[in-house]
Symmetry: C2
Amino acid sequence: MHFTSERRLDDGVVAREFTLGEIPGTLWTPEYAAPVPLVLMAHNNGMARTEPRLVARARHTAAAGYAVASIDAAGCGDRPRSAADERVRADLRRAMRAGEPVDEIFESLVGPLVENAAPEWRTALDALLALPGIGGPVGYSGWMALGIRLAVDEPRVAAAGFFAGGFVPRAQREEARRVSVPLLVLLQWDDEGNPRQRALDLFDAFGSKEKTMHANMGGHTGTPWFEVRDGDRFFGRHLK
Amino acid sequence: MHFTSERRLDDGVVAREFTLGEIPGTLWTPEYAAPVPLVLMAHNNGMARTEPRLVARARHTAAAGYAVASIDAAGCGDRPRSAADERVRADLRRAMRAGEPVDEIFESLVGPLVENAAPEWRTALDALLALPGIGGPVGYSGWMALGIRLAVDEPRVAAAGFFAGGFVPRAQREEARRVSVPLLVLLQWDDEGNPRQRALDLFDAFGSKEKTMHANMGGHTGTPWFEVRDGDRFFGRHLK
């Protein structure tokens, strides 16, 4: 892991850019040196770790006493995309404009994204936990499909906050019953592209004994800010 | 309003019993004298204000900086019951034992309970807001059917936390669209006697622009304790 820059932010958070082989990432930590738990934060469908809403969430969570890390995994953010991937994305845009069904296109886009991203997140986890000042246990926050895969495959993930507004591929829908860590699932009640019933069914399917769903009014990007603080408290109960 | 007893509790809360005409009530306040917002706390289906889970919730919320009041309204708690009321309750017990449908019996029990209780809660609200150290705005917490009626009829109620695990009579299901205050609805995902879909439909129906649902695993009485603290923060956003 190679740190390429470091910035002190005005909320008492230090943001460091890093690379890990081909993987670019950002690590946000509180300025003080005491060991803090780690939260992996990923954006739906491989959106960039530099996206302002993710950055705002990461900074807030770091200021609340966590190390927060995000990477652009293979095919995500600004990482190079295969020609096949570009074709699927073009198909998706065309189908959405035409108002055609998009489930199968999402399946062929998000399925491979998760398959390819998960090992890189685990590589990053290894490297992050080797840093001084970062302890376990580990939390996960954000992209539900990737989080399901990590929660099932990665015993170091001890609690997860999922955003329900994103396509979940078949493989992860089937894996949902095997998720056993405490969950906090955020649902936007009138999320345009994400059918409510599908999210409720998935919440029902998770194997976790302790799972909570917070449903709020509004569309995909309307999650109220107080949910970030609720997320900090959820991690506080399970990681501290 | 006539205070009949006062106890200082070990969590810095003072509990005072009062009567208001025929209405018995309890008021929990923090020891300090600064004006605090008022939260009305009612138990499902008119259960007694002395029920230990309600008392624990009331004390916690008072310690967080609220005046919390509960009354046994007409037909509730230890108040005298009419012969008709006793008959309906006997019918209900018989039908539940026999595994028969209970919706219509609940309708004839809870419908009149709400009709009779609401005016007494409003009477109590008048008296409570006249006390020194208790300010507006007013929150409501607990019994959903009564809370719907109060939220619709009583402009002083500024925010409400509802427990979804209780029968809601037809009149209140119809009034739900007229509720406009911020809501926090607690749902127990596997509540034995309260169909989940009915609670989801009611949450959908509320007219409030800001409404949040917290769903947790487990049966009717399994709401996790952290929801009491989440409720305090919900009131903190709207009453303070």
